[in-house]
């Protein structure tokens, strides 16, 4: 267990408030929580990549960032039309 893995584990605790807000709030607030959860997960994967010394894991973080942006914009589109 090196410090990078500890940092990733601590960072993942931040998902708890994101889940609570996403589950309990009205539509735009839930989307904000989803985006912050994407930030948390992407950074945790970066830290895990360094901790396990596998640079290929960092590619997953890049994909998560790109896809969370695309998903977020799609949600915004839906919210503007029907929200």
């Amino acid at each position: 267990m090196n410090p990078w893995l500890v940092a990733a584990a601590v960072l993942l605790l931040g998902l708890v408030p994101c889940f609570v807000v996403a589950a309990r709030s009205a539509s735009p607030d839930g989307l904000v929580a989803l985006q912050l959860a994407a930030v948390v997960v992407a950074l945790a994967i970066l830290l895990l990549a360094v901790g396990f010394d596998r640079s290929i894991y960092a590619d997953a973080a890049i994909l998560i960032v790109l896809l969370s942006f695309a998903g977020g914009m799609a949600f915004v589109r839906f919210l503007q039309r029907w929200g």
């Binding site: 994101c18 977020g72 915004v76 919210l79």
Partner: protein, 101 residues
């Protein structure tokens, strides 16, 4: 423990702390605008600090971390603005003030 390790730890711990505080603020915030404030703070400062720490530690990982931080830096404000605009439009609609899209 060398100076490099110390700076590395400082950057990573700082980045993790910023993101965690943003998550707490997200839970405490009252409306969407309060929460967007924490999304944009945690989504720019956190990745920059963590990427800086990783760059000091690793080679190829460091480049990918910089890429992740750069993408967050470019897409974060766009998304924050778009969500704020959607929230504002929904607010106006619920007040009956007009349906501009």
């Amino acid at each position: 423990m060398s100076v490099k390790d110390f700076v590395e730890g400082l950057l990573v711990v700082g980045g993790v702390a910023v993101v965690l505080v943003s998550c707490l603020g997200l839970a405490v915030g009252r409306d969407a605008y309060d929460r967007l404030h924490f999304l944009s703070a945690g989504g720019t400062v956190g990745p920059i600090l963590v990427a800086a720490g990783i760059v000091l530690e690793a080679g190829l990982d460091g480049l990918k971390a910089i890429l992740v931080a750069a993408i967050f830096l470019v897409t974060g404000p766009v998304l924050t603005h778009a969500i704020a605009r959607a929230a504002r439009l929904a607010e106006e609609r619920s007040r009956g003030a007009g349906g501009q899209r």
